[in-house]
């Protein structure tokens, strides 16, 4: 066991994927848990073979151990960036630049997809899966869509308050799935939000079939950017998050829950596609 644990440390140093940071515990663990409910039997078996754990177990691993030297390359980001006009994903920046989660997903998919995972050491596949479970959820977090500063100020400068004192916009959205839901478990959260019809799910689960993956995933990017704008619209500058109106609270939950659901269904889609026999 210790060998496996140490190999995780070693292998991560070789990873091309990067990043870290996003949803809090409720969001990350729930996205992974919901994704696991929608895996095909083959994909579930393969994931469990490589991870020796549920997907949920590793959902926050990339955040928890980001301070270890071998993880430095994956420390920053788990986000995406839009171009200057704040409407389009910047693919030019999307590859192997720190904090470009979409680029990492494309790279990891190319490494594992089309049966390529069979030619990789188990430890490498394991590490790619651990990373993927985290950043597919991360890239769906509304505050992980980085806009140019002339469109929205940085989180550290965005004027949000909690009882009159500065509150961080990014942190608020990270914790939004658990907002006013003290003691919720992933199971309760799943039961509460997962009412998705197959038709709706199918709408989210496209893109990987495209020969040009970057092109295929443009639809995903549009959703991230739309959600990013929504997050700012729900909490305009000057908002005190300790005193949100009922409408604002509902809007926060609506956006958080939608984002988690899309992330979960897409994570399942990615894994099902990779492990499709």
């Amino acid at each position: 066991m210790k060998k496996i644990q140490l190999s995780i440390l070693t292998i991560v140093a070789l990873c091309s994927v990067q990043s870290a940071a996003a949803w809090g515990g409720v969001g990350h663990h729930s996205a992974a848990y919901i994704a696991e409910q929608h895996l095909t039997p083959e994909a579930k078996e393969k994931c469990r073979y490589y991870l020796k754990h549920t997907l949920s177990y590793y959902a926050m691993w990339m955040d928890r151990w980001r301070g270890i030297k071998e993880f430095e390359a994956i420390n920053n980001g788990h986000s995406i960036r839009t171009t200057d006009n704040g409407r389009k994903l910047s693919w030019a920046e999307g590859y192997n630049v720190k904090g470009r989660a979409m680029g990492h997903l494309v790279n990891a998919y190319k490494e594992l997809g089309n049966g390529n995972y069979k030619n990789l050491p188990d430890s490498v596949v394991r590490q790619r899966l651990i990373n993927m479970v985290h950043y597919v959820a991360d890239m769906h977090c509304p505050s992980h869509c980085g806009f140019p500063e002339h469109i929205y100020p940085l989180s550290s400068k965005y004027n949000l308050k909690r009882n009159g004192k500065f509150a961080n916009f990014h942190s608020f959205w990270d914790g939004s799935p658990g907002y006013k839901r003290k003691g919720i478990t992933v199971k309760k959260y799943h039961e509460m939000i997962d009412k998705v019809s197959p038709k709706e799910a199918k709408k989210w689960q496209t893109g990987l079939e495209h020969k040009n993956l970057e092109k295929g995933l443009e639809g995903w990017a549009k959703v991230f950017i739309k959600h990013g704008h929504e997050a700012y619209a729900i909490l305009p500058e000057g908002t005190d998050i300790a005193h949100l109106t009922k409408e604002q609270q509902e809007a926060v939950h609506d956006l958080a829950d939608r984002s988690i659901l899309v992330a979960a269904y897409r994570l399942a889609y990615v894994l099902n596609t990779i492990f499709k026999e």
Binding site: G24, G25, S30, S56, M60, I68, G175
Partner: protein, 261 residues
């Protein structure tokens, strides 16, 4: 994010009662039930039902409500330098466990309430003795206190350290998965270690106690008041904490199977 995460893990310690977080404790018991004999399972369900979250907090709730007929010392294990049980004055975890097991073994001679209390005590204390912070070793003075140590935050950024309490650290590690429900905890532990049930649950209660003491001592050799712990060591501690939860579940099952025949 980092701030939220760390505060979620270590501030929540105050909310948890027992060896680990509330759902983690219940998950350990659910894991145990998966390895009970049909006879042992039927007795457990007869007295405790099929959900265990309240049972796992039982001793702590009694203390909190000031209804306990014991002191908080009941949660601790006292071992000598060779990790053999010390005969301390009053009840410690081992003595209380053995007494409670005797009640379960002779359950027909006891009232339902007494058996229920004994079963809950067994569960609580089996969890407690697998949490290193409840193990006090004769020749390791700092094992007797909830001392403060420093934990490295990052290996590559301007090195910073944060202070943590020994007991809160081990208890709080499971809080990173506190949003798991008990069944998910059990499913994950079973998935990770299930094949090793026979190996991990081998032995007697007193052998397990010594084994836990020896493992705790390894950590106490480099974690002491004001020591600085590397992040790498913390990662290994995290893995080991998860293993100890699994040991607790497997050994609880073995203990109940031996006791309820």
């Amino acid at each position: 994010m980092k701030k939220i995460f760390l505060s979620a893990i270590f501030a929540m310690v105050a909310l948890s009662a027992g060896a680990w977080c509330k759902t983690g404790n219940a998950g350990v018991v659910v894991l145990a039930t998966k390895h009970l004999t049909p006879k042992a399972l039927s007795v457990v369900e007869q007295y405790l039902g099929t959900t265990y979250e309240d049972d796992c907090d039982y001793l702590y709730l009694l203390q909190r409500k000031k209804k306990a007929d014991f002191t908080k010392e009941i949660h601790y294990l006292h071992l000598d330098k060779d990790f053999q049980p010390l005969n301390v004055e009053g009840d410690d975890a081992l003595k209380a466990l053995e007494k409670a097991l005797e009640v379960v073994r002779t359950r027909d001679a006891h009232s339902a309430a007494e058996v229920k209390k004994a079963l809950r005590t067994v569960i609580n204390l089996m969890l407690d003795i697998h949490n290193y912070s409840n193990i006090r070793i004769e020749n390791i003075p700092h094992s007797h206190s909830n001392f403060t140590f420093k934990r490295q935050v990052s290996e590559y950024k301007t090195t910073t350290y944060k202070n943590y309490k020994w007991a809160n650290y081990w208890t709080g590690l499971s809080n990173s998965l506190a949003v798991f429900h008990a069944d998910l905890w059990a499913e994950d532990m079973e998935l990770h270690h299930g094949a090793k049930f026979a190996e991990m649950s081998k032995g007697t209660l007193r052998e397990w106690v010594s084994d836990n003491g020896a493992k705790a001592a390894k950590h106490l050799a480099y974690v002491y008041p004001d020591s600085v712990i590397t992040l790498r060591d913390c990662l290994m501690m995290d893995f080991e904490n998860y293993d100890m939860m699994t040991y607790a579940g497997f050994r609880l099952a073995a203990l109940l199977n031996q006791t309820i025949r």
